[in-house]
Structure formats: C-alpha cells, structure tokens
C-alpha cells in the first residue's frame, strides 16, 4: 500500500471514530489537515509517475523535495495526534527491543502511542515510529 493510500485510510478511520464520538480528544482541525496532506501526497505520487515516464529528472527532483517537506509535515501532525493520545491515555514508556540481523540487541523506549498510530495509519506512520523509538542503550552481541 502506498503512503498516500495508508494516510487516506488513516484519515478515514479517524473520521469514522470522530463521527461515532470516540475521538473527542483529537485536536480540532487535525483530521482536516491530515486529509489535505493525503490529497497532496496522492497528487505528488501521480506527478512522480508521470515525470518518471517522461524521463523528466527536474520534475522528479521537485517531487522529491515536496515529498521531503510533506514528510516533515506528516511527522509533525502525527506528533500532535500522538501527544493528544498520550494526554488521554496517560504517559508510560515501556521497553522495546531492536534486534539487528547481526545479532546485536538494542534497547528502545517507543512512544506510548506507537501501536495505536500503527493501527490507524499503517505504513504512513512508519517514519514517525522510528523518530519516537528512543534508543535507550546499545548492547553487544547476545
């Protein structure tokens, strides 16, 4: 699933939750901002495909830059949603583990809203997850 599709699906889930009165704690306007971003993201993906078909390197570079900017905006919006979630559900960071293919194990402290945001936004929450999976320590090979 593309990021824009995952984002649109997330917006749809939040809208449904709001309609059912379950997400009253979401900051006002956040879902609309996410919906606008999802539209822009889909447009960017379509433009990218067109530029790629036309071998238009400049167009692709512009798309890349826009994608970077939208990525920053998405991370900020997800951050707002995550903070609101935490305000509602309480703050607790529990220990997680990052296991590399080399066998190294690293302790991480993911944000309390991580699982919930993954449920709502799927792949679109991917980068946010890393940004908020604080590296708590590095262990040697087990």
């Amino acid at each position: 699933m593309s990021v824009s599709a995952a984002l649109s699906a997330g917006v749809a889930r939040l809208s449904l939750g709001q309609a059912m009165g379950e997400l009253a704690w979401l900051p006002e306007g956040t879902v609309d901002e996410l919906a606008t971003l999802a539209d822009h993201w889909a447009e960017n993906e379509a433009r990218w495909s067109a530029y790629k078909a036309e071998w238009d390197a400049l167009g692709q570079t512009q798309c890349h830059q826009q994608l970077h900017d939208m990525g920053m905006e998405l991370r900020a919006l997800l951050g707002t949603v995550a903070e609101a979630y935490m305000g509602q559900m309480g703050y607790h960071r529990d220990e997680g583990t990052l296991t590399l293919s080399s066998g190294h194990a690293i302790r991480v402290d993911p944000h309390p809203a991580t699982s919930w945001l993954l449920d709502v936004f799927g792949a679109a929450a991917g980068r946010w997850v890393w940004d908020h999976a604080l590296i708590a320590g590095v262990a040697v090979r087990p």
Partner: protein
C-alpha cells in the same frame, strides 16, 4: 532529549580508529575526522570541568559547550558512516526487527554501516543510531 555522550566512550573510539588507521585498514576514512574527534573529546572534557564550577554563568557555558560538542560528534559519526557506505561493495542495507512493548513486531531497514558502527563505537554509536540508523520503517513484520 538527546542521549549524553560519555567522554570515555569517545576516547576509546578515537583510540580504536587511530590504531586501525595506522594499520591502513581504514583508507576510506575521511581525512581529518580522527583529529576532529580528538578535539571534540577535549571539548567534552572542558565542558565537564566547567560544569563543576560554582559560577552559574560558567555552568551555562558548560551546557552550551556540551550540547554543541555532542551535536558535532553525531555529525562526525554520520560522516564516517556515510564514507563506510559509499566505499565500493558496501551499499547493502540491514534489516532489523523492532519489537514494541506490547509484542508488536516491525521490520526496519537500517543503515548499511549499522553493524560496523556498533562494533567500532560501542555505546557511543547510539547517538548516531538514533538520528541516522533507520533508512525506513516498515510496519508489522
């Protein structure tokens, strides 16, 4: 909040890099980066000394110096990791599994230099890992 850098970890890393450089094993290392890390170690030591001062202005200087120095260390480590990655034959990305506290398992694509950075820098690598470690995060493995 960024993790603190232990000056002893930095000193150990500089020593390892210097020894390996002398053997010719790190020809790809950017010129001057070991000297830069040595200077940053000195700067961290200065900051630690100032932090013990009874003068509040001096202690503020210590905090500013430490933050600035730690940021420079992260940049130097990123430079080294990038040099490692761009050396021919090393562009392979590593997969890792991120396990959340509730048992959710995620696949994360890590920087190609990940394992080498951990083995070379030990605990010091965690400051780099946090900012540059993940190339992308994939949901639900």
């Amino acid at each position: 909040m960024s993790p603190r850098i232990n000056p002893d970890d930095l000193a150990a890393a500089v020593a390892r890099l210097a020894v390996l450089s002398a053997t010719g094993a790190l020809v790809w290392l950017p010129a001057g980066v070991v000297d830069e890390l040595t200077e940053l170690h000195q700067a961290l030591g200065d900051a630690e000394q100032w932090a013990e001062s009874s003068d509040p202005i001096e202690r503020q200087r210590a905090t500013a110096r430490r933050l600035h120095t730690e940021s420079a260390v992260v940049e130097a480590l990123a430079l080294i990791a990038h040099a490692y990655q761009t050396w021919p034959g090393r562009a392979r990305r590593h997969l890792a599994t991120l396990t959340l506290p509730d048992g959710t398992s995620l696949s994360v694509v890590m920087h190609p230099a990940m394992t080498w950075m951990l083995e070379m820098f030990g605990p010091l690598a965690h400051v780099w890992l946090r900012y540059h470690g993940a190339v992308s995060t994939v949901v639900r493995s």
